[in-house]
């Protein structure tokens, strides 16, 4: 079942976030800011750009390597992501057939270039976003959001959502299993049955929310989730953000790839 896999992947992504490397110890805010700047820079590259995108792989690769995140896990997750960008992008080579470049006698169309560009951007943005969670943890990102000015009410219920995601998914899995054991073949999957199952799940959810609220009230809940975590940006954080910004600027505005290519051509030929 596809959702089972997603479920276990969430758990794994969550566990990875409790590593103790240098990357994990950075302030969540610095990682969120660096990631957002990174995404903006990657997306801002022109439509036909392919070669200039390659240096941007340095950021996710460095993050994964320094934080000890298994690359295969991230790659596999990237593959099962819903491929909307690819479905839309694949039309480009069919529609834009004007020759843009001729390389070694082979004409390449503009559509092919822009499709490759979309593929690379897809890999860069998705991979880096997954790495943000894998190195920061979801509550970490939430606290960063709040300190960056996102309304605390929104952040509080975002954290509730995350906390009870696992609980309710297990609940739903039990319901699905029970349905499968009582029905054969396609039976039991009609809308009428479905509506009752989801309705039941909803009622259980509301009851659970009530119990959670009572439990939290007795522990002093006042509408906010405070944290004891570190709140100061250390020198390492500033250094991290500054270095990231520096390299982003370099890769964005200086044709690094082309220079290296010319150098390599010079050495070889």
């Amino acid at each position: 079942m596809t959702f089972n896999r997603n479920y276990f992947d969430i758990g794994r992504l969550d566990r990875l976030a409790y590593g103790r490397t240098w990357v994990h110890r950075l302030d969540p805010r610095s990682k969120v800011v660096a990631t957002l700047l990174y995404l903006l820079t990657v997306v801002s590259l022109p439509k036909y750009e392919v070669a200039a995108l390659t240096p941007f792989f340095l950021f996710p690769v460095l993050l994964a390597a320094l934080a000890g995140i298994p690359a295969r896990f991230i790659l596999r997750k990237m593959l099962i992501v819903s491929p909307f960008a690819i479905v839309i992008g694949i039309a480009n080579p069919l529609l834009d057939t004007r020759t843009a470049v001729v390389i070694a006698g082979t004409p390449l169309s503009g559509g092919l270039l822009s499709f490759f560009s979309i593929l690379l951007k897809f890999a860069l943005t998705v991979g880096t976003t997954l790495l943000l969670i894998a190195t920061t943890s979801f509550p970490g990102v939430c606290h960063a959001f709040r300190r960056l000015g996102v309304p605390s009410l929104f952040v509080s219920q975002l954290m509730f959502l995350y906390r009870y995601l696992f609980v309710l998914m297990e609940e739903a899995m039990r319901i699905v299993r029970a349905r499968e054991m009582r029905s054969f073949g396609a039976r039991g999957a009609e809308i009428r049955v479905y509506v009752r199952l989801v309705g039941t799940l909803f009622l259980r959810t509301v009851d659970r929310a009530e119990r959670i609220y009572d439990a939290m009230l007795s522990r002093g809940f006042q509408g906010d989730i405070p944290t004891l975590g570190r709140s100061r940006m250390a020198a390492a954080d500033l250094l991290f953000v500054a270095t990231t910004v520096g390299f982003l600027g370099l890769f964005r505005f200086v044709p690094v790839t082309e220079g290296i290519g010319r150098l390599a051509q010079g050495v070889l030929g």
């Binding site: 479920y7 969430i10 995404l39 903006l40 997306v43 022109p46 439509k47 070669a51 390659t54 792989f57 690769v61 460095l62 390597a65 000890g68 819903s82 960008a85 839309i88 992008g89 480009n92 529609l95 390389i103 593929l119 951007k121 897809f122 943005t125 998705v126 976003t129 943000l132 969670i133 990102v141 309304p151 009410l153 929104f154 219920q157 954290m159 509730f160 959502l161 009870y164 309710l168 998914m169 699905v176 999957a189 009609e190 809308i191 479905y194 509506v195 199952l197 309705g199 909803f202 009622l203 959810t205 959670i212 609220y213 009230l217 690094v256 082309e258 220079g259 290519g261 390599a264 051509q265």
Partner: protein, 346 residues
């Protein structure tokens, strides 16, 4: 149908981020004044419920394919617009971060498409009048089906617009619409049936739950939608203005993509439609005086003058390919090097 980072331009992405950020601030502000703490855990847990309910599937009659609950409409009916919007925004945030569904930059677009329309447009102006007091199951059914379908149509249409304005895709406007709208009409109608079913089931099984939710929810009357829209308009114009100015100095932004749309000779009429609308709008507002949307004729001429558009000459791009290979190799080596170093140390 989540909008994806890879298809976005920075101008479109940040404009919609600004819009959704403004509405999130507004919704939190309103809610804080009107609800008790009890609703915060309820909202969070209902967000988790939307995810969990997607694990249960059903077969769509007559097709054999399976569907599941979308979320926006049912949340709006159960929680009211503000709370529903925030729950929807957090569901999409979790999807962006964990499933990389959409992406962080595209989050603004996705919250807009799947949150703002059902909660702030369709629910108050379509669902409420159609459903009346929500007592008759038949009216709830009609209202749900119409609302879910309209909300999803608006969302799908926005995806088309956002993709087109970003200019990364070559799909012409009409073809893209034909690709998106019909399939989302079907999905929307099915979602409407399911939404009505769940609401009616909950009302028959435990009527007091809906009643207590309605009691803790703010009344719809003092929703100052005008204020939200005004805030958004100001923010959008400011960000859009600044960023498009920036984009127009680099020819990869909005302007260029719109010219591309009009310049593609396959569907000149569709292109002219957008351009003329945008142009009229732009003449009226005149915030961006030198931001001109060229008429289709001009663009076609330009295209004739320079048939090989991309200003890439062969030598540069050959160096580009060699460079790309070398760079990727170096990046890989750095990664592997660090990993083996860490492996030896631990």
């Amino acid at each position: 149908m989540h909008m994806a980072d890879a298809l976005l331009s920075p101008a479109v992405g940040t404009t919609l981020w600004a819009g959704t950020a403004a509405i999130t601030g507004f919704a939190s502000h309103r809610l804080k004044k009107q609800i008790d703490d009890r609703t915060i855990p309820l909202m969070g847990v209902l967000g988790a419920f939307i995810f969990a309910s997607q694990m249960i599937n059903f077969t769509i009659p007559g097709t054999g394919s399976s569907g599941h609950l979308g979320g926006g409409m049912i949340l709006a009916v159960l929680l009211g617009p503000h709370a529903a919007f925030l729950v929807m925004a957090s569901v999409l945030t979790v999807q962006a971060l964990f499933f990389a569904d959409g992406g962080l930059l595209a989050l603004g677009c996705n919250v807009w498409n799947l949150g703002v329309y059902p909660c702030y447009l369709v629910y108050p102006f379509l669902y409420k009048p159609l459903a009346g007091g929500g007592k008759s199951p038949g009216r709830v059914l009609t209202a749900s089906v119409v609302s879910a379908a309209v909300a999803l149509q608006l969302g799908a249409f926005s995806v088309v617009l956002e993709t087109l304005l970003s200019g990364k895709s070559e799909l012409p406007f009409e073809a893209f619409l034909l690709l998106m709208q019909p399939i989302h009409l079907v999905i929307g109608i099915v979602e409407g049936f399911v939404t009505a079913g769940v609401i009616n089931y909950v009302r028959t099984a435990r009527p007091e739950i809906l009643a207590s939710m309605a009691a803790s929810r703010p009344l719809g009357r003092d929703v100052q939608l005008r204020k939200v829209l005004a805030t958004f308009a100001v923010l959008a114009v400011v960000t859009g203005g600044v960023l498009s100015w920036f984009a127009s100095t680099h020819p990869d932004g909005l302007e260029w993509s719109i010219q591309r749309v009009t310049g593609s000779d396959s569907l000149p009429e569709a292109g002219q439609g957008i351009v003329s609308v945008l142009k009229r709008f732009q003449e009226k507002t005149a915030v961006l005086p030198d931001y001109s949307f060229a008429p289709a004729g001009n663009e076609a001429q330009k295209a004739e003058e320079s048939p090989a558009w991309p200003m890439v000459d062969g030598g540069t791009s050959a160096a580009g390919i060699v460079g790309a290979a070398v760079v990727l190799g170096m990046v890989l080596l750095v990664g592997l090097g660090i990993r083996s170093f860490r492996g030896r140390n631990s």
